[in-house]
Amino acid sequence: MVDVPSDATVPLSTAEVEDVELYHPRSWVTKYVFSQDAKIIAIQYSLTALAIGLVALVLSWLMRLQLGFPGLVSFIDPERYYQLITMHGMIMVIYLLTALFLGGFGNYLIPLMLGARDMVFPYVNMLSYWIYLLAVLVLVAGFFVPGGTTGAGWTLYPPQAILANTPGQPWGIIVMLVSLILFIIGFTMGGLNYVVTVLQGRTRGMTLMRMPLTIWGIFTATVMALLAFPALFVAAVMMLLDRLIGTSFFMPSIVALGEQLPYRGGSPILFQHLFWFFGHPEVYIVALPAFGIVSDLISTHARKNIFGYRMMVWALVAIGALSFVVWAHHMYVSGMHPSFGFFFATTTLIIAIPTAIKVYNWVLTLWRGDIHFTLPMLFALGFIVTFVNGGLTGLFLGNVVVDVPLSDTMFVVAHFHMVMGVAPILVIFGAIYHWYPKVTGRMLDTTLGKLHFWITFLGAYLIFFPMHYIGLMGVPRRYHEIGDMAFVPASTATLNGFITVVALIVGAAQLIFVFNLAWSLRRGQPAGGNPWRATTLEWQTPETPPAHGNWGKTLPVVYRWAYDYSVPGAAEDFLPQNQPPDPATA
């Protein structure tokens, strides 16, 4: 017992925690639609993100059909293929992953896990969701404007993105940029809430070092996102001006379709810098919440305290800071000075250190733990394996000499899908299986869940392992159809067909999950308040699902850290954070 006042064993009143004036909904509309309750906003965010994610899943099916069986579907011409790529990437990275981790899980878990009644600026929080929804609607509108969505690739590199012969002209790129600008404005509103709530909304006794790692992950990621998204904002505004009023921020003098365009002197490299200054932190904006959530899932379902809690916190912060100085490793092939390449390769490889610390700590938490193979645990284990796989190929690509030949091949596609596609998605599934009982009061069906897990997990490997090989064989990415190329063996075509078949199955298997979500809402087993027997505060609410205001009359007081599992001598194998110390044993 360190640093603890001598009267610490006496249960304390919460009088010293100032209560906040809560917003009170007056009608059905203000309670469930224009709600300022973070829990409702979280559900709105999650459902919107999952819905648009399903759209992106269908887009990936269409792409795979073209890659596996070229020409089978005549609808997918080269133009449409580019549009599919662009929308799939953009939706998955920004509108699904970012929105779901920060807007969905952030909104639900931050107030509950910290013992707060709500976010500190509930009205701004509500605006955040509605602007996000507007951004999604504008994005979807791209499918219906003349010319369709933009086909510039998810990185939107100029000058291609603006030129008239890029698919989706004239409206696609405008719609896309406007949607991104809206998303960033909406996210900033939410992000300010998450940061200030973590800093000022914690209940009594919830010191920073007692916060669950989920909160540390979401908090760090939000800080990063707040600082990184302005780069995308600036880039989007400048490109919009280039497109609309003919400025030359990014557009060099260029001859397109046999015609000299009026642009002159812009710098496409400038766009790449701005884009990747956002783009690389974005990888960790998606990964850090996943890291945090996985730590909590593993600890809870292995009934063991997290190994190296302090290291985990420090590693999260270190990864967050480092991720701002590695952006140019996405630009090795842009013709940069070799010493820049050396610098960015070094920083990139240094990130492997805190990341490896986290992986070791997860494994050491599992070591001799009482592992329950529940659904969240299965997904968490799937994440660790997948993340290690994707991370290792990241070490390959972080080196300039390896990256240059592999750049723009399917190897890169396989790498980033493993590390920031499949891995975070597995965490999202695990987290939904874990917290669904708190959100709805009912368990998700286990049999369906296991079916969903095994198809998704094995399927992801059947898709992406061969894809690494295809990339090593030299199959380029972003090609509508490679046809006969002397340097590509014919076997890759067979593999591509195989990948497509698996991708169709894995995609369809997600319907099991959607069905499970809907079915269990009414028919699921009643969960009770704390089905996983977890320690963190969200499981200790007086009501399940938590009522408006979360905590009834008095706020909880926190007496211990979030990982008191299997404490020797304790009656239960878990001690909730708000359980006062036993005077007899203390």
């Binding site: 640093d3 906040v20 909304g201 810098h273 302090r310």
Partner: protein
């Protein structure tokens, strides 16, 4: 990109300084009982509001740092031709300084609880800010009249972009300032609670205006090309 990296280093230093005061070396698994963190005393709502504004300023600061990064990167290219800066910008800079001073005097008045001085300070700040925006528009028109309103000229495109974004931030601030001014004239402004709220609003406005002034001074020195040598040195360091 050296400017944004510099900004991020500043942010990281700030975050590191803050984190170093947060007992990050504690061993939470050994500590059972209530721990009250330093700074947990006092009323929460002013701290929450100031922190919220501070976080927003960090975001806005990042936005401007990125704009300046882009600007200085473009400026270092061979075909850069600077604009002649309209003299009205000097006048505008003075107006913005006056607005900041006026708001600062309003803060002092709010602390001493002198409603009349608060009102005059807020009004003066509002008038100066509106005059600043009008002056910026004048500068735009002057450049346009001289034939520089051309999308093909990167210097003028950047000039219009950075002044427009700075002006938009000021417009947003003016909404808050207008609401604060209205509150200062409200008849119920005499209760202790109302004067506390008013003081907080005045302080927030003042912080925001000081920030806008700082950003403008940096932008101004960049537009006037006083910082060229500095940028050259930074580039030399990086390459």
């Amino acid at each position: 990109m050296s400017v944004i990296v510099l900004f991020m280093v500043m942010m990281a230093t700030l975050a590191g300084w803050w984190l170093s005061h947060q007992r990050l070396t504690a061993k939470p698994w050994l500590e059972v009982g209530v721990i009250d963190q330093a700074g947990d005393t006092g009323t929460r709502s002013p701290r929450i509001a100031k922190l919220g504004l501070g976080a927003f300023l960090a975001v806005a600061g990042s936005l401007f740092a990125l704009l300046i990064s882009a600007y200085s990167m473009r400026m270092s290219m061979a075909d850069w031709r600077s604009l002649p800066m309209p003299t009205v910008l000097w006048f505008n800079t003075g107006l913005l300084m006056l607005a900041s001073v006026a708001l600062h005097s309003a803060v002092i008045a709010a602390r001493c609880d002198e409603p009349a001085s608060i009102r005059s300070g807020l009004l003066a700040a509002g008038v100066c800010s509106l005059a600043f925006l009008a002056g910026q528009v004048l500068a735009w028109r002057e450049l346009a009249a001289a034939g520089y309103f051309s999308a093909a000229n990167p210097a003028s495109a950047f000039f219009y972009l950075v002044t427009a974004i700075h002006g938009l931030h000021m417009l947003g601030g003016l909404v808050a300032l207008g609401r604060t001014t209205a509150r200062s004239f409200a008849p119920t402004g005499d209760t202790p609670q109302a004067s506390g709220t008013l003081r907080l609003s005045v302080e927030l406005c003042a912080i925001y205006w000081h920030f806008l002034l700082l950003v403008w001074l940096i932008l101004f020195s960049l537009l006037m090309r006083w910082t060229d040598d500095l940028i050259e040195i930074c580039r030399g360091l990086l390459s």
